[in-house]
Amino acid sequence: MIHDIEYETMPREALEAIQLRRLQTTLAHVYANVPFYRKKFQEVGMVPADISSLADLRRIPFTTKQDLRDNYPFDMFAVPMDNVVRIHVSSGTTGQPTVVGYTARDIGTWSMLMARALAAGGAGRGEIIHNAYGYGLFTGGLGVHYGAERLGASVIPVSGGNTQRQVVIMRDFGPTIMTATPSYALHLAEVAEEMGVSFDSLKFKFGIFGAEPWSEKMRDEIERKLNLTAVDIYGLSEVMGPGVAIECHEAKQGLHVFEDHFIPEIVDPNTLEPLPYGATGELVFTSLTKEAFPVIRYRTRDITSLNPEPCICGRTLVRMNRVTGRSDDMLIIRGVNVFPSQIESVLMETEAVAPHYQLVVDREDNLDVLTVKVEVGEQSFTDEVKGLQDLERRITKHIKELLGVSARVKLVEPKAIERSEGKAVRVVDNRDI
C-alpha cells in the first residue's frame, strides 16, 4: 500500500521543484545556525543564495563522519537545545560516537516516513508488528515504533534479546509483520525450531529487515525459513534513522528513497566526482526538511547505485540498490575501484564456493597485483586437480568479466584466512606507496 500517494507518486518535475525549495531553506538554516557549515560555504566562497538549481548542490563541500565527531556532542545542532526533544547516538564501530538530535517536528517527519516505509513493506492498520529492533540510543527500535503508531498498526515493542520469550509472543499474539535485523530474524528462526515452533503455523506475512548489509541469498533463506516476504529498509542515524529508503514488497528490487526529504547522490569515492544513474559508488545524502540536525552532502561510506526506472508499485521515487559494501574498504587496482563485497558476490555466484576469501594486493614491477585467496570447503572440493584448477579459472574469469580486473585466484585451506576477533581480515594491502 502507498501511504502518501501525493508525494510518493509525484511527477519528477514537481518533485524536483519541491526539492529545490526545501534545499534552499535548509542551506539558509544551516548557514545561519551551524558554524561548521558556514565555514564550509566560506571556504568555497559561496552563500546559500548562490544555489539556484539542484545541480548547484555539487558545488558545496562534503560532510564526513569525522566532521560529526569533531563537533561532538552538540555542535552540529542547528536549533537551541530548548527545541530538541530527542537525542540518539550512533554507535560506530570505531572511535567516538556521533550524536544526533530531533525537534518535535523532526520526530513527526520521521514517524511519517517510517509509516510510509512500513506500508511499502506490507504493513497497515489492523496488522500486528513484532518489532525486534533494539530500543534505546540506537534509532531502529523507536523509529519503527513511532512509524507503526502513525500508521495505526499494533506494535509489540519486544526489542532485541530474550529470544525464547519472543517466540512465545509470536506464537500467542500472532504478529503479521516482523521488523528486525536480518541476522536476528534467522536467529529467531533457529530458536523457534529448537522450541518446536514452526513458522508455517505462525501468521507472519511480511518482514522488514535492515540496519546491516545482507544479500539476496540471505533473503531467500529468510523467506524460506520464516515463511514471509522479506524487504530491505535503509537508514542511518546521521541522516535520520530507519526510513530513508524502503523496498516495496511488490517489486523487491531496490529501495525507494524518500526524495522529498532527502537528496541522494552517488560519487566516486576516490575522486569525489558525482556519478550518473546506474554507476556504482558512494552514497551521499542531503537532508531537506530536518530542523535539529540537517546534513549537507553527508558521505555515508555505503556503496550502491541509483536506479531511476519506473517501478511496478507506482512510486516515482528513485531506487537505490542493495548496499554492497563500504567505501572504507575500497581498493584501487590499476585504477579500477574494487570493493571486497563485489568479489564476495562473484564468489557467491560461482557455484559451490563459500564466501571465505581474502584480497591481497602487492606491487610487482610497479604494477598492482591482486590475489584472491579462496578457502576450499567441502562443497567446492574435488579430488581431481583438474577440477580445482577449473574452479580457479572460473573465478578468475568471473572477476574479470564483472569487475574488469585481472586477479590471481589461490585456493587455500579452510580457516587459512586470518580472522581478527572472529571476523575475517578481508583485505591485505602490501603496497608501499
Binding site: 576450499v376 567441502e378 572440493f381 574435488t382 579430488d383 581431481e384 586437480v385 580445482l388 584448477q389 585451506e413
Partner: protein, 152 residues
C-alpha cells in the same frame, strides 16, 4: 540382482584431502592419523605449484575423515577400483586398453603399497566405476574389494 549387490561391495573407499602447503601439511596429516590409530594403506599426492590433493586408502575411512575434518582439513570421499595387475610386461597396458575400448575414462591411478601375492595392485579412479568393475571381471581381471584391500 545378486550381481548388483556383489558389485556394490567391489569398490574401495578413498579419502582425499586438500593441502595448501604440501610439505609441512603432509606430515601433519600422517601424524594426525597415527594419533587416531588409523592405518594408511595407500597414499598418493597429486600437486600443482599452488596446492596438492592427497589421496588415501585407510583401514577406517570414517574415523580418518572425521579426525581430519575436526582438525580443520577439507576432506572428500570417492569410490575407486583396486585391480590386481600381473607383474609382467604389458600387464597394466592390457587393463588400460580394455577400459579405453569400453570408453571408460581413467581420471587418475596410482600403485598400492602392498602387493597381492606376486601381483601388483593398482588403484583406478573411473567415473563409471560399476561399469568398469563389471567389464574387468568379465575379462577375468581380479578386482579386489575393500575388505580384502584394507587387510592386505
Amino acid at each position: 540382482m545378486t550381481d548388483y549387490i556383489v558389485e556394490e561391495h567391489m569398490q574401495v573407499e578413498q579419502i582425499s584431502v586438500f593441502l595448501e602447503n604440501k610439505s609441512g601439511r603432509l606430515s601433519e596429516v600422517t601424524a594426525i592419523l597415527a594419533e587416531a590409530e588409523v592405518n594408511i594403506r595407500a597414499l598418493a599426492l597429486a600437486d600443482t605449484s599452488d596446492f596438492g590433493v592427497l589421496r588415501l586408502i585407510v583401514d577406517d575411512t570414517e574415523k580418518a575423515r572425521q579426525t581430519l575434518k575436526s582438525n580443520g582439513f577439507t576432506v572428500g570421499k570417492t569410490d575407486v577400483v583396486a585391480v590386481e595387475v600381473t607383474d609382467r610386461p604389458g600387464g597394466l597396458h592390457g587393463i588400460l586398453t580394455m577400459l579405453h575400448d569400453a570408453k571408460l575414462n581413467v581420471e587418475y591411478m596410482y600403485a598400492f603399497v602392498r602387493s597381492s601375492g606376486d601381483n601388483a595392485v593398482i588403484i583406478f579412479r573411473i567415473e563409471q566405476e560399476q561399469e568398469a568393475i563389471r567389464l574387468l571381471e568379465s575379462k577375468g581381471v581380479n578386482v579386489i574389494d575393500g575388505q580384502r584391500l584394507y587387510s592386505l
